[in-house]
């Protein structure tokens, strides 16, 4: 069996950005929080909007909508708090979403080399084929890995987070 056709059953959180749905491995999701104040200060990382305060932690807000659907979310914004693994540690990042998230169980088909770096795999749900997001490639961080390395990240690696 080719690795690209291997499937794994696991839980995922479905999130909505505009009209499109995406999935993130449930193991990396901490919580979904109501809209809250975004604190902004000068910086030069374009993908980061600011930070929110959550449970005593300062969490960067990373607008992934622009990269995924071509425009930022301006309304109905909730924050999906996810764990982002870096070389030496794991940190929370807040992803603005439209709020109606759903927990599902599905089998994921790992991404192929032809897929974009932010795609960890694919799953089928309610007649839709949905991208499973690779947060390590989607959100900024120091020493961003090359696209080929990102593409090789598998669901198993994501689940380790």
């Amino acid at each position: 069996m080719s690795p690209t056709t291997e499937t794994t059953a696991d839980s995922f959180v479905l999130l909505r950005l505009g009209e499109r749905r995406f999935a993130v491995a449930a193991s990396v999701i901490a919580e979904l929080v109501a809209p809250s104040r975004v604190f902004r200060f000068p910086h030069q990382t374009r993908e980061i909007e600011g930070v929110i305060l959550r449970r005593g932690r300062i969490v960067p807000v990373c607008d992934v909508a622009e990269k995924l659907i071509g425009k930022s979310l301006r309304s109905r914004r909730f924050y999906l708090i996810a764990q982002r693994r870096y070389a030496t540690q794991t940190e929370w990042v807040a992803l603005p979403v439209t709020g109606d998230c759903e927990l599902i169980f599905a089998e994921m088909i790992p991404a192929s080399e032809a897929d974009l770096p932010h795609v960890a795999g694919w799953l089928s749900h309610a007649g839709d084929v949905i991208e499973v997001l690779n947060l390590a490639a989607l959100t900024p961080g120091p020493g961003v890995a090359s696209p080929s390395t990102d593409a090789s990240l598998t669901h198993a690696q994501e689940a380790l987070l």
Binding site: F39, F41, P42, H43, Q44, T45, E47, I48, V51, L53, G56, R57, I58, V59, P60, C62, R84, Y86, T88, Q89, T90, E91, V93, T139, P140, G141, P142, V144
Partner: protein, 289 residues
């Protein structure tokens, strides 16, 4: 039988910080990092304009003994809209004098969170981290982050070249001409115009004690922090010559100011003994011990 007493939670140590404004944005800096707080007017007399500065955020230099102190425009550094600066922070153990709009208040922080790694650009050099004060997140600036070693090298080279050119020019002048350009009223007038440029304030009084601007600094503080703010205004050195009225003003000012070292920390001048201990690397949070 006595039960063992529960372990004591580690006591958190507070670090005193100054919250200041640049172009409407609030920042924090450790008060131990601030050597002096001066009004731009007092600095204007001592500042020399750098013509054609290679570093856009640095337009003036102040000579302090053997060292040049570069005046950094905080708004330009952070990419904020320009705003009229009223105060200058002379930052300890750096060669930076930072132009700021005003002091918001003095307070203390007990927790400093490392800048999240999602921030992956120049800001990593700007900030020590983030802290939450009154349910707001404030970036804590890194004093040495305002001028990189490369920028300092560039500025020093430019200064040396400028000084060498001036020395050559002076060497070529006849003795009479030389006397006419040193220590005259014209010289003072030039410094006055530099002062206005430095702070974008056309109403800047000429020199030293007359322009200390304590009232402005005090008015910018809030929440009953007048006591603190009165302590942060540094000892002002007389700039150029002062007359009798200057001295009277100086006496009045001196009664309202004290050295910044009294508020920085109860420790000695340069010894910042705060230690940051990583308790939980996953949370990337530093606590002040």
């Amino acid at each position: 039988m006595r039960l063992p007493s529960p372990p004591k939670p580690p006591s958190l140590r507070a670090e005193q910080i100054i919250l200041f404004r640049i172009s409407g944005q609030i920042f924090a800096v450790s008060s131990a990092s601030v050597k002096e707080v001066r009004s731009v007017d007092t600095l204007a007399g001592a500042a020399k304009e750098i013509s054609n500065s290679a570093i856009r955020k640095v337009r003036h230099v102040v000579q302090r003994g053997e060292h040049s102190l570069y005046v950094v425009n905080g708004a330009v550094h952070f990419g904020l809209p320009p705003s009229p600066a009223a105060l200058v922070f002379v930052l300890r153990r750096t060669r930076t004098a930072l132009l700021v709009d005003g002091i918001e208040k003095m307070t203390s922080m007990t927790r400093l969170q490392a800048l999240p790694q999602a921030f992956n650009n120049e800001e990593r050099g700007w900030y020590r981290g983030l802290t939450a004060i009154d349910q707001a997140v404030i970036p804590v600036v890194k004093p040495e982050g305002f001028l990189t070693p490369d920028e300092l090298l560039l500025l020093d080279s430019s200064q040396q070249a400028s000084s060498a050119a001036m020395a050559d020019l002076i060497a070529q002048l006849p003795a009479d001409d030389l006397a006419s350009i040193v220590g005259t009223e014209d010289d003072a007038a030039g410094l006055r115009s530099d002062s206005a440029t430095l702070g974008n304030r056309s109403d800047a009084p000429p020199f030293g004690f007359k322009s200390v601007g304590l009232d402005a600094a005090s008015a910018q503080t809030t929440h009953g922090e007048q006591d603190s703010s009165s302590k942060i205004i540094s000892t002002f050195q007389p700039i150029l010559t002062i007359d009798a009225s200057d001295l009277a003003t100086a006496a009045s000012v001196a009664s309202r100011i004290s050295s910044v070292s009294t508020i920085a920390k109860p420790t000695s001048d340069d010894s910042s003994d705060f230690r940051f201990v990583q308790f939980d690397s996953d949370e990337s949070t530093s606590y002040i011990q």
